[in-house]
Symmetry: C2
Subunit: 325 residues, 2 copies
Amino acid sequence: MTAPLLVGIDVGGTKIAGVAVDAVTNALRAEHRQPIDDAPLELQVAGLVRRLIDGAGEERPAAIGIAVPGLVDAGTGVMRLAVNVEVGELAIGPLVEAAIGAPCFVEHDARAAALWLIDQRGAQDSLAYLSVGTGISAAVVIDGRLVRGVNGLAGEIGHTRAVADGPLCSCGLRGCLEMVAAGPAVARRAADAIARGEATSLAAGAGPEQIFRAAAEGDPLATAIADEVGAHLARAVRTIVLLYGVDRVVIGGGMSRAGAPFLEPILAELKREMAASPLIAHAMAPTPVELLPNDADPGAWGAVVVARSRGGDGRAAPKGEVADG
Amino acid sequence: MTAPLLVGIDVGGTKIAGVAVDAVTNALRAEHRQPIDDAPLELQVAGLVRRLIDGAGEERPAAIGIAVPGLVDAGTGVMRLAVNVEVGELAIGPLVEAAIGAPCFVEHDARAAALWLIDQRGAQDSLAYLSVGTGISAAVVIDGRLVRGVNGLAGEIGHTRAVADGPLCSCGLRGCLEMVAAGPAVARRAADAIARGEATSLAAGAGPEQIFRAAAEGDPLATAIADEVGAHLARAVRTIVLLYGVDRVVIGGGMSRAGAPFLEPILAELKREMAASPLIAHAMAPTPVELLPNDADPGAWGAVVVARSRGGDGRAAPKGEVADG
């Protein structure tokens, strides 16, 4: 008899990715990714789970984890407000659980990623995952425990204040970090400068990827934008480290795929702060700030960690173990 | 035989306060406060502990808690950088433990206060205590666990950025929250305006207490200052609630003794943010923001909670219980 199987599913804006792993060795036994189509999301997820179980040659997984965007109620398995996947309120956890006949646990995608990172490092450690893409949010693990917040919104640093004024944020406030450092803000900042006739090699409509590439090549406008974004994100890292006292900050999300031209201005600003302030130097000393590797799939693997760690919440096995399902 | 005794000591800038309580019923059995003098701090604390034990008619306490300012290593009982009590690095925990012959546990004073608040409410709850005085810092409990941070600095919101520029902070950075919303900043802001000849009833050298009292009486300069400080602190509360997801924020510290004229501008700004932003309204909905009562002595009572909860860390009794010492 083989070891029990864990399935991790990552629901993104355009695709669903999944892995099936050996619950004991964590060895990969099946993986698949498919574009999102028009079928109800829970049917697409259940279909992918079945495909992964078949691929692994099993009947049923011990537990399933699902990482989703939006506001997630991890207790009930309900997702809400996930505008990028165009579902309203959906009890995806209970629906997939009923379809497959195995315990199913749902988590916010950034939090699943943080759980995966902490799982790789050491289960009692602390860590912040800062996701910078269309929006900006953080997921934080303290002493091995995910911080969800009573309001379900812990880590929403994108809506703390970065500047005194600025364009109106989709949240209703002005000056939010997202409005000066997330993808759309970066693109808008470039478009405005191009419209004003500033000297640049950037074409109208350049996105973050082009802008950071141009910064790496010395384009003056792109360099100025990368430096501004880096300074704002460095202050966000400072806020995270001062408030949570984590000793590792990993940055992921769409913008982070720009790599070094994105990361270096953040590190340069943090270095300036540490040189100016013994307090910040003390706070940041044990805290490397690094990018998620480009080829990492933290959502699906994070969902596996969710399935493993929560598979025992009164249903299957004690925390940290997995039931023989 | 009476129930075991717990002693809680609060070391402040000018005085040391202590209580001795019944470990089972929490009933007060002795209390005393004395000014700080020139003797070594550990001798003053040990003397106060003996006085409290004598007052309670016991030989020895089951455990002692000590709340101190500065950077605290709760594991070793060492305090550092507590400029207001003029000690360098002091192993106050081991020294008092040796002098009294009972387990002694040390905690940062704001964190002790947060533990006391959470103890009164429900041991698995979440809460932030925001101390606004000479400096600004937060102490946070999440799901009944104090957040200390790997760097020992978790909650140092006073050194997050509040404004783009501003006077140089003692930490070495510019624009820190402390430099626009803590006591010295409030007094300096008034002094600058008075020197410029702005219309006000405030005398030169007015401190925060006079300024908030004048604001309550309609003084235009004092009102403007109270509103500015309130807006900065409201954004600090927003940051705390968005990052930690706590569902209660209690504000204490020297500035908070000004009462309603201090609190009302904070609440007014939060109300504006909640009206403008459904996200902030959702995040803040379960979160009352309130002042610590003026007559509360959270340091000494918090130290009792520290003694009770940590008295069992491998030395006396399981967590949450107290050894019969």
